[in-house]
């Protein structure tokens, strides 16, 4: 603890990945910022955009391939060989396990957490380049998405903020 009263006032959090474990840290940080009275802007880009697509954001999964830290049956178990990670149902199973643990900690689902962040006064934005690339329109987004932003607009609204890329 420092003696000064200086406090972080504003954060801009970029979520660029579309796996469950790629999305949650940014959501928890944004919500946590609001809980501390810190202004929070969330910017979804590339596959991270799936977190704010209403058709898909309840279906995010954990990657069981290319994830050497993943262990079974629990976090202190044995590493899951990549070859097994490819088996049908593996990703769904790992996702189910993690969701169950998170529920015990009262961590909401992705759609519920976005609603919570919105209720808490956090702002949710989508990246224009990705929206164009994926051929998306406003109808594809959850209602909490405030605006589709260009990278320039993102920097403008991030004035005075710490920018966190996840």
């Amino acid at each position: 603890m420092t003696e000064s009263n200086a406090k972080l006032e504003k954060v801009s959090i970029i979520i660029s990945r579309g796996t469950l474990d790629g999305v949650y840290p940014g959501l928890i940080m944004a919500n946590g910022a609001r809980m501390e009275g810190i202004e929070a802007n969330l910017f979804f880009t590339f596959f991270g955009l799936y977190a704010i697509l209403k058709k898909f954001n309840n279906k995010l999964r954990i990657a069981t391939v290319g994830n050497p830290a993943l262990r079974v049956p629990g976090a202190k178990g044995v590493p899951l060989p990549t070859l097994f990670g490819m088996l049908p149902g593996m990703s769904a199973f790992a996702t189910w396990m993690m969701k169950r643990e998170m529920n015990k900690l009262d961590i909401p689902s992705v759609p519920e957490m976005l609603q919570m962040i919105d209720d808490a006064g956090g702002n949710i934005y989508a990246c224009k380049a990705t929206v164009d690339m994926f051929h998306l329109s406003n109808d594809d987004f959850i209602p909490q998405v405030k605006k589709v932003l260009t990278v320039g607009e993102f920097y403008e609204l991030s004035h005075g903020a710490q920018i966190i890329f996840t």
Partner: protein, 105 residues
């Protein structure tokens, strides 16, 4: 141990101003802490939050999350933030004479 004096009543607090002995809490102390936190008057809405926090803390031995305040306590998150601006759970817990929140969500 640190102490604090509110209108002639001395209570024990930690470095951050949270009560260390819940039994010393009174509604008058709650009002005084609220003033320090920038809430000039505790309305029925505030008391609903404080009452639920205390009830849930006694039942479960831990502070409820903002989600639980919403789903079980029936306090909409938007309302919670409006009632206790700038850190709702921390402020409400402090005013309710409860420990600082320790969970991340």
């Amino acid at each position: 141990m640190l102490t604090k004096n509110f209108n002639g009543v001395t209570i024990s607090v930690n470095e951050e101003g949270y009560l260390t002995d819940r039994t010393q809490w009174t509604k008058e102390i709650a009002k005084a802490i609220a003033k320090e936190e920038g809430i000039s008057e505790l309305t029925d809405g505030h008391w609903r939050v404080i009452d639920f926090l205390q009830k849930d803390f006694i039942e479960r031995g831990t502070l409820p999350s903002i989600r639980r305040l919403n789903t079980v306590g029936g306090i909409p998150t938007k309302e919670l933030y409006a009632l206790f601006p700038g850190g709702p759970l921390k402020k409400a817990a402090k005013i309710a004479g409860l420990p600082k929140p320790t969970s991340c969500v």
